[in-house]
């Protein structure tokens, strides 16, 4: 901090610090804090209280009936007292119903149903699969772009990669929907070739398979995998590749021993980004499966917020996802032996 003041002077230094603090506060601490706070409390379910109140009023009505038919003053007074007591109870419960007390605890996290937990685990596994597939697809591509001979080839490859990203993500997903749909492009071609019978609903149901989501996701997030890899691969001294070849190494060994170790930070960043994006992706599974291919966890979170109207539960789900993703980042960094410093580069 002292060096900051020395470098920029007191006024500018303080301004920079303030901007950094605001950044951290507004973009990290406040939203995340709000989410975690929300996930740590719940209000007792309204349904039960309402039932209790209903029961009390039923009881009161019965007691009133009993009281009106009773001639013994002492007994009548007893009923009246009971009614008054129930009325007090009901009033108290009614107050609770309109403004239920918050209860703090971890119950939101432990209350996840077995089905939801299954979806959670499956989403993580799917996201890992998407990441692995994207890595397999993108590594050769990144290698070709980064080590392309001649600047023109590199430009062509880069433009070919970036152009699809000028189109809105939703449109790109819908495009894949059209390609894979029952009467989509692929089935259409197959039908035209006479390989499937569209008239009798003999199409291939691509969209009911998780791989349709995988495909759209890889397509959607390819750039986030490719660019970090290209960046690190571009810094590789080509002489090292030639040296390895000159020393008799096969292409496979050159990749394994020279190129991939060099590209590790880029691979780690690409995997982290792709995993985070696919584990949290809502639009791609929602559009591609249309409810037919099984939910992803992000869809559950959405429903908790906007359909069950249970923001606490939704927050708890979201925080769980965040924790797992963070753990994934740390594992990846450990696995690839890269530190934050390498990634920042």
């Amino acid at each position: 901090m002292a060096s900051l003041f020395r470098a920029y002077g007191r006024g500018l230094g303080a301004l920079l610090l303030a901007i950094a603090a605001l950044w951290i506060l507004a973009l990290i601490l406040v939203p995340l804090g709000a989410m975690i706070e929300q996930s740590l409390w719940w209000k007792d379910s309204k349904g039960e209280i309402t039932l209790q109140i209903d029961r009390l009023y039923n009881d009161m009505a019965t007691l009133q009936l009993d009281a009106s038919g009773e001639s013994d003053a002492a007994k009548k007074a007893g009923f009246e007292a009971q009614i008054a007591q129930k009325q007090a109870e009901a009033t108290a419960l009614e107050a609770q119903e309109t403004n239920p007390p918050k209860t703090y605890g971890l119950a939101n996290f432990t209350r996840m149903s077995g089905l939801h937990f299954y979806i959670f685990i499956r989403t993580i596994i799917y996201a890992l699969m998407v990441t692995a597939l994207a890595l397999v697809v993108c590594y050769p591509m990144a290698y070709a772009v980064a080590l392309a001979s001649g600047p023109r080839k590199a430009i062509v490859l880069t433009v070919a990669l970036i152009v699809p990203y000028a189109i809105n993500e939703l449109l790109r997903v819908y495009a894949w929907l059209m390609i894979l749909d029952y009467r989509g492009v692929i089935n259409g071609i197959l039908g035209w070739l006479g390989m499937v019978d569209l008239d009798n609903r003999g199409w291939i149901p691509f969209l009911e398979n998780p791989s349709a989501v995988f495909l759209a996701m890889i397509y959607t997030y390819v750039l986030f995998m490719v660019f970090p890899m290209v960046n690190t691969l571009e810094t590789l001294d080509r002489n090292q590749i030639e040296a390895a070849r000159d020393l008799g190494a096969s292409s496979f060994r050159i990749h394994r021993r020279v190129i991939i170790p060099h590209a590790k930070p880029g691979i780690a960043v690409g995997c982290i980004m792709t995993f985070m994006l696919s584990a949290g992706s809502y639009s791609v599974p929602a559009i591609m499966t249309r409810g037919q291919g099984g939910d992803w966890f992000s869809q559950l979170v959405y429903r908790q917020f906007f359909e069950s109207n249970n923001w606490n539960m939704g927050s708890a789900y979201a925080v769980s996802l965040l924790v797992v993703c963070t753990a994934f980042i740390l594992i990846m960094m450990r696995l690839f032996g890269v530190g934050l410093r390498d990634i920042a580069k």
């Binding site: 001294d237 002489n239 090292q240 030639e242 040296a243 390895a244 070849r245 000159d246 020393l247 008799g248 190494a249 096969s250 060994r253 021993r257 020279v258 170790p261 060099h262």
Partner: protein, 358 residues
């Protein structure tokens, strides 16, 4: 390890329309320390990459040990290349670097680490195996690169200006070291450089290249004393170049008319009588005094003290002539008007041709 001879048979290399190497024949003997010397862009690196197999010649054949190398990749040739920037693998330890070629050949780990240790001791780096290349000094990295190349037991070691990144002191030390290593392992070294000092100091023979053509192939002493072309004469060492017209030749002796007066010299090649010629005189062959075959009165312009020697910058008829003399008491107070003298054997007379520096 045993050296093999390398033969370039009518080799020519083109990149598109650009001719990088004009058709040339060159034979490098087995076990020879052979340098290819030339300014950057003269095609010397292209030749090296052709021998190592990264480039196929457009026409002609490359033969190593009598065997045609056509269609063989760099990993199939009995050559090893040391890159200008060394291209050590930064993420591997020194021992892994040295053992990489053996690893690629499927040698077991214990075996190759043992071999790496032997090679490291050959280049005086015993015990450095566990370090990373980045922990070593420039000269040590240099030696790791040599050990790594030697590990695959090449018959021909190709070196692409590997000393250019080192500072002067280290460079001079490494010259001697390279030469000693070459003598010890006895294989053929082909050394690419633009530094004539390196080429002269280390080589058995030197080829001088310019614009894709071989200018001269000769032993260092011959190259310096008897340069075959004006380019070689001016590229290797310093020269005073005096332009003139050839008046007479008899028996190798040439008489030239120059603006500085007539000069008696020795013809190189076959300049025609009456044609424009270049007279070349090395600064260290010139003396002060009038008792020589050729005499040129000059004005002393500047005196540069080098330590053991003194360079005198003289002017005659608008042309600068440089003289290198041994330092001594007589060099302290020189008169402004001097007479430079040199023998007729010291002046080489060439037909007009391209010079090394424009």
């Amino acid at each position: 390890m045993r050296g093999k001879d390398v033969r370039l048979d009518q080799v020519s290399i083109r990149f598109g329309d650009a001719v990088a190497v004009q058709p040339l024949n060159l034979t490098i003997e087995a076990g020879e320390f052979f340098s290819i010397l030339g300014p950057s862009g003269c095609g010397k690196t292209t030749i090296l990459r052709t021998v190592s197999g990264f480039i196929e010649p457009t026409i002609g054949r490359v033969l190593i040990g009598g065997e045609d190398m056509a269609g063989k990749g760099p990993n199939e040739r009995p050559t090893a290349l040391i890159f200008q920037n060394l291209a050590l693998f930064p993420l591997m330890s020194v021992a892994e670097n040295v053992a990489f070629g053996l690893e690629a050949r499927g040698v077991s780990k214990a075996e190759r680490l043992k071999r790496a240790e032997e090679l490291l001791s050959l280049v005086a780096l015993t015990g450095y195996g566990d370090k990373k290349p980045s922990d070593l000094s420039g000269g040590q990295r240099q030696r790791v690169a040599i050990a790594r190349a030697l590990a695959v037991e090449p018959s021909v070691l190709l070196l692409d200006e590997p000393l250019s990144a080192l500072d002067l002191k280290l460079r001079q030390h490494m010259r001697a070291e390279l030469r000693a290593i070459q003598k010890r392992v006895g294989i053929t070294f082909i050394y690419i450089t633009h530094d004539q000092g390196e080429a002269l100091a280390m080589s058995d023979r030197v080829a001088v290249m310019s614009r894709g053509r071989l200018e001269q192939v000769a032993a260092p002493d011959t190259l310096y004393a008897e340069p075959a072309t004006p380019f070689v004469a001016t590229f290797v060492g310093e020269q005073n170049v005096i332009r003139g017209t050839l008046r007479r030749i008899s028996n190798g002796a040439a008489s030239v008319d120059t603006p500085l007066g007539p000069i008696e010299g020795r013809e190189v090649g076959t300049p025609a009588i009456g044609a424009p010629v270049l007279v070349m005189v090395r600064p260290e062959r010139v003396t002060l005094g009038a008792d020589r075959d050729n005499r040129i009165p000059v004005t002393l312009k500047a005196r540069h003290l080098e330590g053991p020697s003194v360079n005198l910058e003289c002017v005659a008829d608008g042309q600068t002539l440089t003289v290198t003399l041994a330092n001594g008491p007589a060099m302290r107070d020189l008169p402004n008007d001097l007479v430079l003298g040199f023998g007729r054997d010291d002046a080489l007379v060439y037909a007009e041709g391209a010079l090394a520096n424009g």
